[in-house]
């Protein structure tokens, strides 16, 4: 049994200060990524741009909307649009399955649901793990891709939601 030792408050504060100063500066900053699939491709959006992940629910069609806009949903009394993310990315439209999710995305000062095929993971990734997109990326994706990230041997394309929403408002999809 170790003998207890009386210390002063000043000693404790001094020790705490030393401990903080000795901490390794190598604690790399991380950021949250929400990973999902559209068809067989893996995509991610930063956690700061995703307010909520909702299960697929009935989407009400609104006449007069562009093809990428699936319609609207009722989120606890708030009416929110739902965009088919694959359509904005130039991917073919596939039937919605029971695995589908709606991500409540915030970008370009607007909120919208994003229909994706399947949620995969939400994780903290170190900044250094996200690399610049390859120059070989298709032209239509170049604008919206902020980086490439590896997740379980899969290449994950990190999307810039601000730019996606901005281009949607200009006529994309």
């Amino acid at each position: 049994m170790t003998a207890e030792r009386k210390v002063s408050a000043r000693q404790i504060l001094s020790l705490r200060q030393d401990n903080t100063a000795n901490q390794s500066p190598a604690d790399e900053s991380t950021f949250k990524l929400v990973i999902f699939t559209i068809q067989d491709d893996f995509f991610a959006i930063t956690g700061t741009h995703i307010r909520e992940i909702l299960p697929y629910s009935v989407i009400h069609f609104v006449p007069g909307c562009p093809p990428a806009l699936e319609g609207v949903i009722n989120v606890r009394g708030d009416i929110t649009s739902v965009i088919r993310l694959g359509s904005l990315l130039g991917l073919n439209k596939t039937p919605v399955t029971r695995h589908a999710s709606i991500l409540l995305g915030v970008g370009n000062h607007m909120i919208s649901g994003l229909l994706v095929d399947r949620m995969v993971d939400v994780l903290d990734a170190p900044q250094s793990a996200v690399h610049l997109p390859a120059a070989t990326l298709p032209d239509h994706l170049q604008t919206f891709v902020s980086g490439i990230f590896r997740y379980k041997n899969q290449a994950v394309t990190v999307l810039d939601l601000d730019l996606l929403f901005q281009e949607y408002c200009r006529g994309l999809g």
Partner: protein, 141 residues
């Protein structure tokens, strides 16, 4: 009226179907409802006036439900006169609480190609587009 006072208010709407979708007009814009068998010839001031098709005015794709459902004619107040439009059953007059009326979300608003669409009405699982008849007719001109 302050926004908070709206919680006790309501609006009266006429709901109908067009091209398989649910639409509504404010009830004070609707003067009468007729069946297609009551031809326009029966209306004293409407001799020879063909009713306008809302499917065409709203440029909606016609669906199977549109083809099979029963059509009705709404006589609608428009400026100093009235006009006749064909809609599909069921046609329902309903009093709705003001909190059932919602503006379009921003992402819908910025791309909506339906000038006559004014707002959304949510009643349980049913979603209805409230129409602004003046805008519809302005667009037609």
């Amino acid at each position: 009226m302050a926004f908070a006072e709206l919680s006790d208010s309501w609006l009266e709407l006429v709901f109908f179907q067009v091209g398989g979708h649910s639409f509504a007009l404010e009830a004070d814009q609707v003067l009468s409802l007729q069946t297609l068998t009551e031809t326009t010839q029966d209306l004293p001031d409407r001799k020879g006036t063909a009713p306008l098709s809302l499917v065409e005015l709203l440029t909606l794709p016609s669906t199977d439900s549109y083809r099979t459902s029963t059509s009705r004619i709404l006589e609608i107040k428009y400026q100093e006169n009235s006009l006749l439009v064909t809609v599909e059953e069921p046609v329902v007059l309903r009093r709705c609480q003001s909190d059932t009326l919602h503006p379009f979300p921003e992402m819908v608003q910025c791309r909506l190609r339906q000038p006559a669409a004014l707002a959304l009405i949510i009643l349980g699982e049913q979603l209805t587009t409230l129409l602004d008849l003046d805008k519809l007719m302005q667009e037609r001109k």
